[in-house]
């Protein structure tokens, strides 16, 4: 279940500040519209709406949930964990497992791995996985490389123990040597080295370095995913790439020889929603197919950290899969 804020922002609002270069940037990123929250809305607000709708749709009572995980770069507070805030807000049972994980572009496959591991080991039978970001609140409006790219979205996925569930496989990794290339240097407990010439409490992105990283990391990630799942590209119904930038996704898909009709792109409508891009593909582009049929999916997240993760899963006949507006 995904949730986006109602305020839809087109590219025209950027023309005054950035002039003709808006068209050039847009040609590469592919972003035509994005949804932005207002100053009083956080990622957890979007996730809370998604969770409420999801639990109602599945007929899951609040006291049947054993764990809630929140994975984001934009929590409510530096402390406590936003998962605990959500636990109380959703009126989940006191005493359940609730904690945050700090990941962005790779968040969703990491979160599925964590939630499924919890279910597989018996730590929980039902898990709510909340994943999302409101990057519009951390970009610098004067920075051409980020101001137009990012959108906001939250998502919640329900994971339940099922002894007959098909096997899922995951590839996870990180390389912290790239930490300084996608960073908010200040605002937490260390005053990091200045990056870019704007407000250091805002997001800095070295787009070129990030692209070089993805070229090195993602094709092996795709190959490792297929190898671990003992599958080939033909065995999958769709390949869900983190919606980093349309140009980059097309290049990566071509490099891994994946058929473009199985690589959905929705960055044109939502922008890069950071951790939420993959669940937003599932809850938007694939929602009808996932309601009526079963699909084998490979998903690939990569970026901030650097961190990367993939999942090879088979899901379908979902009772509740949609994108709502908050």
């Amino acid at each position: 279940m995904a949730c986006v804020p109602p305020h839809r922002v087109g590219n025209d609002v950027f023309v005054e500040r950035f002039g003709e270069s808006v068209a050039e940037v847009t040609k590469m990123t592919g972003v035509a519209h994005r949804h932005w929250v207002d100053a009083n809305t956080t990622t957890s607000d979007l996730c809370a709406e998604a969770a409420t709708r999801l639990m109602a749709g599945l007929d899951w009572s609040t006291d049947s949930i054993d764990a809630i995980l929140f994975i984001s770069q934009t929590p409510d507070y530096r402390l406590p964990a936003t998962a605990a805030v959500l636990q109380a807000r959703l009126e989940l049972r006191p005493g359940i497992i609730a904690f945050d994980v700090n990941l962005g572009c790779s968040a969703y496959p990491y979160g599925l791995w964590l939630a499924m591991t919890m279910v597989a080991t018996g730590a929980a039978r039902r898990v709510l996985l909340a994943v999302g970001d409101t990057s519009s609140r951390v970009v610098d409006p004067s920075d051409r490389s980020t101001a137009l790219l990012f959108g906001d979205a939250g998502s919640v996925t329900a994971i339940e123990y099922d002894p007959l569930a098909p096997v899922a496989s995951f590839v996870l990794g990180s390389d912290g040597r790239g930490a300084q290339n996608l960073i908010i240097p200040q605002g937490a407990f260390r005053d990091g080295a200045a990056r870019g010439d704007h407000d250091q409490t805002r997001l800095f992105m070295d787009g070129g370095e990030i692209f070089t990283f993805t070229l090195k990391a993602v094709p092996p990630l795709v190959a490792d995913t297929f190898r671990l799942a003992e599958a080939s590209a033909d065995d999958y119904d769709a390949f869900l790439f983190h919606q980093a930038n349309a140009f980059m996704i097309k290049h990566l898909a071509k490099k891994s020889k994946l058929p473009t009709d199985k690589v959905p792109i929705n960055i044109d409508r939502y922008g890069n929603t950071s951790s939420a891009t993959i669940p937003l593909l599932i809850a938007d582009d694939l929602s009808e197919r996932l309601r009526s049929s079963t699909m084998r999916l490979a998903m690939f997240g990569f970026g901030v950290g650097y961190s990367w993760a993939s999942a090879s899963i088979t899901i379908g006949r979902l009772a509740c899969v949609e994108t709502i507006t908050s």
Binding site: E24, V25, M28, S145, D206, G207, G208, E209, F211, T212, L215, K216, F247, M248, H251, K255
Partner: protein, 70 residues
């Protein structure tokens, strides 16, 4: 005309016949052009070239040399 020169002409938005090793990148050499060139180098030479390396290039020939060395 090589595939690489054709790609560079498209990125720099000039006619392909204008591109040679001495062609100066000039003001068109911005962050978007660099990202596009990373993809082009990957496609033509199957090499992942660093953005910082490209940043230092001044001519199309510099890029070719850097790509072959990557």
């Amino acid at each position: 005309m090589s595939e690489f020169y054709e790609g560079m002409a498209e990125i720099l938005e000039v006619d392909a016949t204008e591109i040679n090793a001495d062609y100066e990148l000039g003001e068109a050499w911005d962050s978007l052009a660099i990202v596009s060139t990373i993809a082009l180098v990957d496609e033509v030479f199957d090499k992942a070239i660093g953005a910082d390396t490209l940043q230092e290039c001044r001519t199309v020939g510099d890029i070719e040399k850097a790509a072959q060395a990557a």
